[in-house]
Amino acid sequence: MDRRQFLRLAGSVAAGAGVAACSPLYRQLSGLPGPSQAWPSISLADFRGLSRLTYGPLPAERTQILKNGLAAWIEEQLSPAGIQDEGVEWRLRPLDALWLGADSLSSWEAEDVILQLQQGALLRQVYSRRQLLERMVEFWTDHFNITVRKGDGWFLKPADDREVIRAHALGDFGELLWSSAHSPAMLVYLDNQANLKEAPNENYARELLELHTLGVEAGYTQQDVMELARCLTGWTVKRHFWGGQFRFDADLHDPGSKRPLGLQIQPEGQREAERVLQRLAEHPATALRLARKLVRRFVTEQDDGSAAALAKRAALALQKTNGSIAGMLRVVLLDGLAGTQTIWGPKMKRPVDVVASALRLLSADTDGGEALQQALQAMGQPPFQWPTPDGPPDDSPFWSTNLLPRWNFAIALARNEMKGTRLDLPALLGPLAPPDPQAALDTLEELLLGVPLGPAERDSLLAALGEGAGQDPAGLPSLVTAGLLASPAFQWR
């Protein structure tokens, strides 16, 4: 069947009244495992590595690791274009907002656009086979944070997500930075469309230096911020008839010469800030800061000698490869996760990790919709809505103080009480009749945690839930699932 036929079939399957009715075909299309598939056991180190690189290690991925090792899997994931991904593409088709430009979207309802953007992100995290790409999309979305709740952000962000973040996530950092600086969504979020020669507004210039590139410890001054703001005057967004496109307005641009960061910038209109962007992208302080963030995101939050040394090596790789994000990431991942002496350290799951890994590892069928987005909001990480430019923190203690919403998500998901999402626990657990608590727990532990609970914990968990078994034996798997999803072990990755 050729690609067009495949997509047409996929479309009709999706449009069909009961997708579940076409079970085998649907499973093949969506990349879900078949029922009672043996879950291959992998080492704890590999499980942990995969948990960093994916939103939850699926059987197919575990099998690949067993066959070829983690390093080979990483290498494959660093070239996402070579990975077939129709399984997720047909799930995204109903989400028109993902493909439209600002001028079309501006006539939509804001809440519809925002929901589709959020659904798109979650569906890709759960179903895409290009897992490392999705991890990097999340990383750059945080790094170049924009909230859809400010001003026109809601109809500008989809293009930013597509053309800035997704287009360059594993590409060239210089191009990513360039693209972000020219992005209407970013300019509006940080008020640069109001940065005028007679009314300079420093907000974007400041965050460009502090958050996107050099970092506050790199030694630039308040004066540098103001000079860069002057270079960026006139960088604005078309307003006529809901344009939403980047526009350089020479009338608004400060015509003098500027001296940001020791660079003598002659009057050259739009090229002035572009020169500075180039220098910022190539600056060693930028490379080091990005490398540190990547080590923190993928390897360990502990700030010690080994982490610093790894970051240094990764930063050099970025510079040696003239800005290849994959080149820098390769060093971080191969040295940090796949080597024999990894410096892997535990990290608390952020809300997106909790939700995506639960859905993925339990082979849920979901539309990524409202019920899940509300759960993410209650946990404190509604996607695309972090108000401040630093993005949601990558810091375990920060995410540790709000457990109740995670527990409530665990219960609602396990008992199939979330509209638009469905678990099929009997299919997952295979033909076990009558449901044997020990076996159910074993299977689910392996899936969700990769490690056994301690014997004392598992006994008391079974004892606590066992009363329910007497009253409602069929409900026991979902109780056990809820317990495991709410457990401390599932909060870590």
Binding site: G454, Q471, P488
Partner: protein
Amino acid sequence: MRFAAERRDFFQVLCQCPQHKQAAHYARSSWPAWMPRLAFEPARRGVRGDVLVVVFLRGAADALNIVVPHGEPTYYTNRPTLAIPRPDDRKASENSRAVDLEGFFGLHPAMAPLLPAWQEGHLAVVHACGAPDDSRSHFKAMELMERGLADLGGPASGWINRHLASLDTGNSSPLRAIGFGEAAPRSLRGVIPVSALRSIAEFHLGGEPEIAGMLKGGLAALYSGDDLLAGIGRETLRILETVEQLDPQGYRPESGLPAYPASDFGAALRQVAMLVRADVGLEVAAIDLGGWDTHFAQGASDGLMAGLLADLAGGLSALHADLAGSLNRLTVVVMTEFGRRVQENASLGTDHGHGSLMLLLGGSVEGGRVHGSWPGLSQGQLFGPGDLAVTTDYREVLAEVCRKRLNNPAVDQIFPGFAPGRAGFVR
């Protein structure tokens, strides 16, 4: 069992202990060694003090337009559009003028609901107050302020958590310290487990009661370790029990009192009041109020910032009235990470500055006064490229609150590297 034999060996090797029991313990408590553990050092004993409510204005609030130096001519020359008119300015409409406090300073008109508290001596202002940090970076300034430090070396914990850890008031309530919102702020985090909550009325475990009951048992078993996450889990379970005995929906402040604003801030303060009255052991509540980063179209007597101030003043005055009978055991502190530039920018907003202010509200506050030494706004008196200078370190105020209102003399632990000198903000 379907687990790879090599995995068990991995545990054993890592733990260097042959017993399977120990290995399983490692698997369970994966809290990294470098992260905070539950406190086990005996803290100093002391009597519980006031309920402390810390309100953090996120985004660097423009202090000069909150408590307006209407006696300062340079304020007006620097802010032709944004300045709040003098109390006696006939050319301005009456409700746009600053509300005079003591002849030199006045309140933004949207802060008028707090005038009764000022007149009763329950509201104090500390102006030109702030931190030594001059990075003008929100993130760095907030981090330093919440950690109670002047530079990034030093304890990772928050100053409020260090206060809680250094004073044993015999209070084992799970509601001892609460962050309102989806995450507890950094000031509240450290070795003492602290929870965030959004709404007491909604604080319950989902599902039918029998299911919730069974799961609570399971959760208690799962969260039985000695690491901080297990501690937070246990406290969460205890909060669930405590909340069941309250009736948050039924709580109504006495009629005739000003209503709390219908905002998240108002809701948080109403819940604080309820918890205070219910006497469930609340010692500290932390509430964030965002939106103060007014680079653009800040508004003057009306507009963006005026709206934020109406929420702030409306909430605080409702709390003040609601807890009139308990004011002598309440101290509210309002703070922000830094202030904003004296001169308005040409986007009709203000850029990042330096000096800001703190507000204190409570029955034992030295109220009806503007504390601190006013540095002035003329050319030679400004800090950096045109900012209000800092003449009172924020830690002076907080240290005195800790000592006198919270009965905690351990300010050297709460604010390491800081030696308080000033006093006189609270009794």
